[in-house]
């Protein structure tokens, strides 16, 4: 039981390049989330999904797209990376909706640097 896994762990991009971050969970959770963590700002929600085939915007969605084609996977895409997207990205999943008293399980994070 691996829990929540993320690939890659580290990535360096040049401004304007694109990439996809992959999140996978083996807990059969309906809900999945993408956060970014920046110094002094805590975790901010980018996008989330309430089930296979669904996505919704979070607090800071601009510049990102997501897809949830399979229940166990949640992809985060950057179409044209910008230095402001340099951050640590965390994926999370939960059995019920996080805002409704449900614990979230987090992946180990992806450290992205955009030059």
């Amino acid at each position: 039981n691996a829990g929540v896994t993320q690939t890659p762990k580290f990535r360096v991009l040049k401004t304007g390049q694109s990439m996809t971050l992959l999140c996978a969970q083996d807990m059969n959770h309906e809900y999945m989330y993408w956060y970014r963590q920046d110094p002094g700002m805590g975790l901010r929600l980018i996008h989330y999904s309430v089930g296979e085939g669904t996505t919704a915007k979070g607090e800071v969605p601009d510049g990102y797209n997501v897809s949830r084609l399979k229940k166990q996977n949640f992809l985060l895409g950057l179409e044209s990376a910008a230095p402001s997207q340099t951050s640590v990205y965390f994926c999370a999943s939960s059995l019920g909706l996080a805002g409704l008293y449900n614990e979230q399980f987090f992946g180990p994070g992806t450290r992205l640097t955009v030059l």
Partner: protein, 114 residues
């Protein structure tokens, strides 16, 4: 404007003593609060939570206190151990707020000195 604040970026405590981590919130509609713990190079893990109908919740060495009138909560760790050295995030949510979101504070880095 941050709705969940942790005004101490870092805290150092001697092993065996009490660690007290503080958290303040501005939205009076929050009714559920959580603490997550994060080690370097790992994702946050759930530690303890409290509902607004309670003012205290205890789990082993960890106790969370909630003061609704002051919009303040605190996490007490007694006794502190070196393995408790980590970043602690306070988070808030609730049915009466944006129920699809959990709002995280910026975190407090705790160092427990042997």
């Amino acid at each position: 404007d941050q709705q969940v604040k942790q005004n101490s970026p870092s805290l150092s405590v001697q092993e065996g003593r009490i660690s007290i981590l503080n958290c303040d919130y501005t939205n009076s509609m929050f009714d559920y609060f959580l603490w997550y713990k994060k080690y370097p190079a790992e994702g946050p893990t759930f530690l303890i939570s409290i509902s607004s109908i309670k003012d205290k919740n205890e789990d082993g060495r960890f106790t969370v206190f909630l003061n609704k009138s002051a919009k303040h909560l605190s996490l007490h760790i007694v006794p502190s151990q070196p393995g408790d050295s980590a970043v602690y995030f306070c988070a808030a949510s609730g049915l009466k707020t944006s129920y699809d979101k959990v709002i995280f504070g910026p975190g407090t880095s705790l160092s427990v000195i042997p």
